[in-house]
Every structure is written in structure tokens, then in C-alpha cells.
Amino acid sequence: MTRSVRRKAFSRFVESLCAGAVLLALVPLFFVFFYVLQQGFSSLNWDFFTKMPKPVGESGGGMANAIVGTLYLIAIASALAVPVGLIAGVYLSEYPRTRLSTATRFTADVLNGIPSIVIGIFAYGLVVMPVKHFSALAGGVALGFMMIPIIARTTEELLNLVPGTLREGALALGATRSRAAFSVMLPAALPGIMTGILVALARISGETAPLLFTSFNNRFFTTRIDQPIASLTVQIYTYAISPYDDWHRQAWAGALVLVSGVFVFSVLARVVTKRLERMHRT
């Protein structure tokens, strides 16, 4: 009897410990979100999305160039990282034990853990130095390098979950190894891979460090790939450390837009995955 009571009490205790840990994990998120919402919402207006930054001393204006710039950088990064990551992931899954795949897997995991500023330096050396000026391409390359390991490893892991019998089925019909991988295995794993890609996108869209000396910043609107380009994160950084109250408010608004964007990405990832999965099942 007492033993049973003790066990139940202990179980309760562990349960509350778990609940406490969950709350603790959520508290910072809520604080950040509500603070950004509170500070940013008042400065957010239609102009913020449609207008360009105003010169110092003039109030008003917006971050249209930075919003477009961030989307543009993400697009460049995806164009680079999605194909490379996908194909690398297919290789890792199809040939899991070659020397190349072991090395690739290890490198991808290390790359994943490298501070983003270091990736920025690398892109600086690779793209900025040779042409001697900052460019959207350099920023996209830096962000792309951050996405590749995430996409490659997600793709590999999800492909490993696809039953090998599907591969055999394709091979038995006269498919080559690569044909089986790309026309049967990859589509079967696609819902999960889409999530992986969107998670990677959400992750890089909030990066500042790799952009500081690659895409740099730009007060003007541009979509030229060989010119410096504004981005929300760098713009927020620039405004936040400035001495002007109006710029601080704009930085808050920018932060709110960025956080909302990431939030939308994450929700989108869920929805798309669910959708694709349902299409596969019925």
C-alpha cells in the first residue's frame, strides 16, 4: 500500500518535472514573440512594406528593399542548395558505405555545426574577393552552404525510411540504379524532404552573420545578382545599433516581419507535408 502510494507520488513528481521543463523551454519563445509583437506592431504600417528607407533625419519610410532582398537571397540560396543537397542525399542513401559517402556525411555534420560567420568568411573569400565587391550572389552562396548539409542529411534519412522493396521493384522492371533512386525512391520520400527544405529555409532566413560581408547592405532597391543587396536581418542589425529612435522602431518592425515570416514558413512546412502525405496515401 505505502509502496504503491510512493510509486504514484514519484510518478506525479516526474510528470510535473517534465511539464515544468516544457514550460521553461517555451517561456523564452513567448517572451521574444510577444516583446517583438508589442514593440514592432506599433511601427508596422503599409509604408513599411512598400516604401524605401528614408534618409537620416527624415521619419517614415520602410524596408521594401530589404524584404525583397531577403526573399531574393533565399531564392539564390535555394537554387544552389536544393539540387546539390538532394542529389548528395540520394548518394548518401544509395551508397551508404563508400569512403566518399562516409566522408561526405562527416563533413556535412561538421559543416552544420560551423558558426555562420565562418561560412560568411568562406563565401567572402570565394565570391567577394575575386570580383572585389559585395554581391547578392555571395550572400546567396553563404546561405546556400548553410542549407546544403541540412537538406542532404534530411534527404538521406528520409530515403532510408523508404522500404528497399520499392527499389527492388523498380530494378526488377529494368530500371537502372539512378533511375530507381530518382523516379521511385525520391518521390516516395518527398513529403518529408519538403519539410526538411522548408525547415532549412526557415533557419537561414534569420541569419545575419553570413550576410554582413557577402551581400552587405544596400539603401536602394535592387535585384541585381552582382550588386550588394539589402536584407531584413542586416537592416535590422544596422538600424538597431544606430542612435536614432525612428530607426529603432523600424528595426522592431523588421524583426516582427522576420519572425512572422519564419513562423509562416514553419506552418507551411507542416501543411505541405500533410498535403503531400495525404496525396500519397489515398
Partner: protein, 286 residues
């Protein structure tokens, strides 16, 4: 899944010979006469998973337009042997083949053999139905597409023909564009058969095609096999003795990686040449 390329089909590896147990001695099959031409033939085939030998000196002839059943206890090597016939074991790392298999008199393990073409000619149906996560139509059309066997315009016709061939057409003709995964287990297996038939193979290998199905679905598959042997050469692995007796003309009994006996099915089931075959067929072990 595991870290290896090894497929995750549940493959049985033959156990090492128990201590003291004498391996069954194969009996000469020279008395066996076939009523049709020989389509495939194994000659002294040995097969190894790494250091483990799974098949010992298998020699067997598979006549065309008939059903040849491979029976034997779990791990006897019958599935491994079946997979040797379209070189499906090639994708398993660290496997090795000695001896050869002939298809229409040509060595399939010889140099310069196009495996892709071989697998197109020797189709396979697996134990667990494995439809691709695509539409019913795309499943059947897959083999045609990748092999470039017909034009886009001919595709619907060929797909229909294959689906009729596997007795599935009437059940799916109104839902060809829906996912194949929405079909029942038996329908999925018949879809896999249709998929295999679409590329017009010469030989169809079936690895326990009905073992995961209920009796009614099983019966449909068996009826289908019975129909198919008019046009195709079929080799089937089965655990179900009655199934072997019902559908096959020839039966091969495998044990511990060896071919123990191979004869006409009715002889195997009424008057087997070896005691051990009789013991297995009558259910004294297995």
C-alpha cells in the same frame, strides 16, 4: 533502416549445417522429361553471402510456358536461388556467384550482359506487394516508360492490356489516376503482377506472391498464375504445399542450400524419390 544497401526484404539466410547432420544428397534428375522447351537453366550454381555459402551446386532446368515451384523449409535458399535468376542479388553488397544461369541458352552472369535488359526479360513479383507511391496507371506504365517500350500514345492501351492480364482491369478502370496505395492487399499484388507483365517479360519470378494475402485474394492470384502460364514461363517460391501442388507442373525441393529433388509436381506429391522430400511434403518437419 539499416546502414547498408542490403534491401530490407526479410531474407532468410540458410543456417550452417547442424553439427553431425549430413547434408541431403541431391538425386540425379536425368529421368525428368519436359513437355516444352527449356527457357532457363542453372548450371552448378553456388552462391555466397560473404563467407557463408547459401547455395550449393544448383543445376535445374525451367521449361517455358509452365509453372515451376520451389519449395523447402525457411532458409533453404529457394528465395536466394529465385533472385539469382534475374541477378537481383547483385545489389546486395558482398555477395558472390559461381557457376552460371542460362536464359535462352545465353549466360546471364557472363561478361557484357546488360543487367537492365535481363531484368526486363525476367520480371519479378515480390513477397510483399510493393506498388510505387504513384497512381495505378503510373505504376503499370513505369516499366514501359523507363525502358522506352512504347510511345506515349500507346501507353493507355498497353496499361489496359497489362491490367486485364492480371485480372485487375474491371476493379480499377474507373480509378486509374488514384494512388495505388489505396488498393487492397490482394489488388496491390495483382497490380505488381500487372506492372511486371506490362514490359512483356519472358519469365516471371514470383517470391511467395500470396503469403501475405487472405485466402480469397490468394485464390485469385493462383487463378491468375494458372492463366499466365499459357503465355509466360513462371517460377514461384512458395511455403504453401497445396499451392505448389495446385499451380505448378514441376516442383523443386530445396534444403540447406541444396536442390534435393526436382520432378513433375504430381510425382513429387504422390511418389517422391527421396524420403526427406516425403517427410517435408507430408509436414513431418518444416
Amino acid at each position: 533502416m539499416t546502414e547498408t544497401v542490403v534491401s530490407d526484404t526479410e531474407r532468410e539466410r540458410p543456417p550452417a549445417l547442424p553439427l553431425g547432420a549430413a547434408p541431403p544428397t541431391p538425386k540425379a534428375v536425368s529421368t525428368l522429361e519436359f513437355t516444352s522447351a527449356i527457357r532457363m537453366e542453372a548450371r552448378g550454381l553456388n552462391f555466397f553471402y560473404g563467407a557463408n555459402q547459401a547455395l550449393y551446386d544448383i543445376s535445374i532446368k525451367i521449361p517455358e510456358k509452365s509453372v515451376t515451384a520451389f519449395i523447402g523449409p525457411s532458409g533453404c535458399g529457394k528465395s536466394t536461388f529465385l533472385r539469382c535468376l534475374n541477378r537481383m542479388n547483385d545489389i546486395i553488397v558482398d555477395t558472390r556467384v559461381q557457376g552460371d544461369v542460362l536464359l535462352d541458352g545465353k549466360e546471364i552472369y557472363g561478361p557484357g550482359v546488360d543487367i537492365v535488359d535481363l531484368r526486363r526479360r525476367v520480371g519479378m513479383v515480390f513477397q510483399k506487394s510493393n506498388p510505387f507511391p504513384k497512381s495505378i496507371f503510373d505504376n503499370v506504365a513505369y516499366g514501359l516508360k523507363i525502358n522506352g517500350l512504347c510511345s506515349r500514345a500507346e501507353m493507355p492501351e498497353r496499361v489496359e492490356k497489362a491490367l486485364r492480364g492480371s485480372a485487375l482491369w474491371d476493379e480499377v478502370k474507373d480509378r486509374l489516376q488514384t494512388s495505388a496505395l489505396g488498393l487492397s492487399g490482394g489488388q496491390q499484388q495483382r497490380l505488381c503482377i500487372a506492372r511486371a507483365l506490362a514490359v512483356e517479360p519472358e519469365v516471371v519470378l514470383m517470391d511467395e506472391p500470396a503469403s501475405a494475402l487472405d485466402p480469397i485474394a490468394t485464390q485469385k492470384i493462383e487463378e491468375l498464375i494458372y492463366e499466365l502460364k499459357r503465355d509466360y514461363t513462371i517460377a514461384i517460391v512458395t511455403h504453401n504445399m497445396q499451392q505448389a501442388a495446385r499451380v505448378s507442373e514441376y516442383t523443386a525441393f530445396f534444403m540447406l542450400g541444396r536442390l534435393v529433388e526436382y520432378d513433375r509436381t504430381e510425382k513429387m506429391f504422390t511418389n517422391p524419390g527421396q524420403k526427406i522430400t516425403e517427410d517435408y511434403i507430408t509436414g513431418r518437419f518444416g
